[in-house]
């Protein structure tokens, strides 16, 4: 089922591209770009959903309720849902496009493996799923395994002054790190999401690097192309935060923005004062009540008109 619906069409598109360009390395690159372009609308949708979610998380009421109900998860969830509804945000909005994209990306990965066919068994299985309209399959198979200095069926190494360097693996680590840093949301203190995002930007490059180091270089080319496409995509969509990679960009921007930032802060504070208090649960604890009172902003009593 999975093979018929996803792998077989993908493999045949890959073979078709290969029959046009005559180089399997270039075919992998073009095929990866093609699939990523097809899933681009989903990525845009995902970005939009994530952006509105982030915006909402910057809402003073959201921040306030995080503090207020930090020990009452159930209540916190209820209040968050109210806020989501109020802002028309679907909390699952960023997950759905990802869920749709995942099988396609997995299919892309598997079809690259299938097409590389490194044994008679694998080549026979590949020949079996070639569509009849691609009638020169015998001429196409096995696919050309040389691309630049690489044997696409073998882990990649390049000899530099007698040293065997896994250049592709290094590039994959670098681009995976770059990509995860660029899309890392602005730090929100010690929030769990920020922590997870930071951890991902450390572990994910290592994982991808290990796979590129140990698996066939054809797959490493796919990883690298996918990363570069992702970086370009985020940049074009204005979602990449280059100041995280090039701090001087951030400083420059901060300097340009500094007066207005102050202004914004003032506005934000005043807005926070006007935010209606979420309903507070009745408590018998006099200490907690007194703390709440202490935290209440002082307001000037309006003068009576005589």
């Amino acid at each position: 089922m999975w093979t018929t619906i996803v792998i077989q069409p993908f493999v045949n598109i890959l073979l078709l591209i290969n029959s046009l360009v005559g180089n399997f390395g270039i075919s992998i690159i073009l095929f990866t770009v093609l699939i990523r372009l097809l899933t681009h609308p989903l990525t845009v949708q995902q970005f939009k959903a994530t952006k509105s979610m982030q915006k909402l998380q910057e809402d003073p009421r959201y921040i306030k309720m995080q503090k207020k109900y930090k020990d009452d998860k159930e209540r916190l969830a209820q209040e968050q849902m109210k806020l989501y509804k109020e802002h028309g945000v679907n909390p699952m909005g960023s997950c759905l496009p990802t869920l749709i994209q995942l099988p396609l990306i997995l299919g892309l990965y598997q079809s690259v493996i299938r097409a590389m066919a490194a044994s008679p068994y694998e080549l026979f299985r590949l020949e079996q799923i070639v569509y009849p309209w691609l009638n020169n399959a015998a001429k196409l198979l096995p696919l050309e395994n040389q691309f630049l200095w690489m044997d696409l069926g073998q882990p990649e190494r390049i000899n530099v002054f007698g040293l065997s360097i896994p250049l592709l693996a290094i590039l994959v680590v670098a681009t995976t790190y770059l990509q995860s840093k660029l899309i890392e949301p602005p730090s929100n203190g010690n929030s769990q999401a920020a922590m997870m995002s930071k951890s991902m930007s450390i572990y994910m490059p290592l994982l991808m690097g290990y796979m590129s180091y140990s698996l066939a270089s054809g797959l490493a080319i796919y990883f690298l192309t996918s990363n570069i496409f992702g970086i370009a995509q985020y940049t074009i969509l204005g979602r990449s935060n280059w100041s995280k990679i090039l701090p001087f960009l951030g400083k420059k921007r901060d300097e340009e923005k500094s007066p207005s930032v102050k202004k914004e802060q003032v506005v934000l504070d005043s807005v926070a004062e006007d935010v209606p208090e979420p309903e507070t649960p009745q408590t018998d604890d006099p200490e907690e009540t007194s703390t709440e009172k202490k935290r209440m902003p002082k307001r000037k009593r309006p003068k009576r008109k005589n």
Binding site: L106, Y109, I113, A118, S119, P120, Y121, E122, L123, F124, E127, A138, K139, L141, P142, E144, N145, D151, G153, Q154, N190, Q192, M195, M196, S199, M200, Y203, M204, L207, Y210, M211, S214, L215, A216
Partner: protein
């Protein structure tokens, strides 16, 4: 914080396992390479080369002593009087003592897997590699020369006193001198997976390709003597017996041709795909299908018997005077042995 890190690590480990299919080392699926010689069966599969007793299937030894996930064997072993030669997917080629299973030397100059079966003549071993090279190796494991083709080498070379003949996945058949120089090459319609076969007098070379063509070539010049178009792709090695050339395709056709003219003597249909080649037994021929059926025919193409196994077969049965042995994948057992009447003698999955 700790919880989130554990969650991330779990996700990443899961992702690694899914993407690398839980197998460290080369991520390649293959079928066992099986050879029978005298009283022993040699099976190369996954992490070991095994020597089994041909009458019982008991394991006598395995090589190497300690398995490693980085080392995978699929190549059909080459067996000589004193040694077994086999290559692996860690790009190493080994010479192993036939009595003890101890390694004599390992040749490590290849940059590709060893999947095709090697050949030997006058103490020189010719090892085909996936880096496209045929390596000529002396008896001490030193490289004498290498001959480069354009793609994987999955078939066994034919070696005579004068030359070496080689089929390549680059769609060509090559004639090479004994010092590694190209004499001629002939381009086929598709990749040459099955090993070419020499005529009895050594003047004609027969080779088939997955482009459905089957040719007879002059061994001296590489010129085509005749060509035969099969109905489907030819993956296996043909067999020559009873003055007829037998070949099978993956569409379930068995052909018998006149080796001199290429004229078809008869054609028989059978169910399944013969990915491996044809083996000669006393008074007949055998083949095995990808669907797990071992078939025996008499020399006129009439079915003698067949045995259905639980698994897939990608190599022709290894035949001796007493036994037929096949290796399967995705089946209940790895190796099955039959007598020449098709009665199963034993089956086993060697354990380390």
């Amino acid at each position: 914080m700790k919880k989130s890190r554990i969650l991330i690590l779990t996700i990443l480990v899961g992702l690694t396992l899914v993407l690398s299919a839980c197998v460290p080392g080369p991520r390649v699926t293959g079928s066992p390479g099986v050879t029978i010689a005298g009283d022993h069966v040699f099976v190369a599969y996954r992490n070991f080369l095994y020597q089994l007793d041909a009458s019982s299937g008991d394991v006598n030894w395995h090589f190497p002593e300690e398995g490693s996930n980085q080392v995978i064997f699929f190549s059909k072993p080459l067996v000589t009087e004193d040694y077994v030669y086999v290559g692996d997917l860690a790009n190493n080629f080994h010479k192993v003592d036939i009595e003890t299973g101890e390694g004599e030397w390992t040749f490590s100059e290849s940059e590709g897997f060893f999947i095709g079966q090697a050949a030997e003549k006058d103490s020189v071993v010719y090892a085909p590699s996936d880096d496209g090279n045929l390596y000529a190796i002396d008896e001490d494991g030193n490289l004498i020369w290498s001959f480069k083709t354009g793609h994987y080498l999955w078939s066994q070379p034919e070696v005579t006193d004068d030359a070496i003949y080689l089929g390549s996945m680059d769609h060509s058949v090559y004639g090479i001198s004994l010092d590694g120089e190209e004499i001629w090459s002939y381009e086929m319609e598709g990749a040459v997976v099955g090993s070419p076969l020499l005529s009895e007098d050594g003047t004609t070379l027969f080779a088939g390709s997955i482009g459905n063509d089957f040719v007879a070539l002059d061994t001296a010049t590489g010129e085509q003597r005749w060509i035969f178009q099969a109905e489907d792709s030819i993956w296996g090695t043909p067999a020559l017996t009873n003055d007829l050339l037998y070949l099978a395709d993956v569409g379930g056709n068995l052909y018998a041709l006149d080796p001199e003219s290429g004229e078809q003597s008869f054609q028989t249909e059978f169910e399944g795909s013969a990915v491996g080649g044809i083996s000669v037994i006393d008074g007949g021929i055998t083949l095995a299908t990808e669907q797990g059926v071992v078939k025996a025919f008499n020399l006129d193409g009439r079915s003698l018997w067949e045995a259905t196994l639980d698994g897939e077969i990608f190599q022709e049965p290894a035949a001796s005077d007493e036994y037929l042995v096949v290796g399967t994948i995705n089946g209940e057992n790895l190796v099955y042995a039959f007598n020449l009447e098709g009665v199963q003698q034993w089956s086993t999955t060697p354990e380390n």
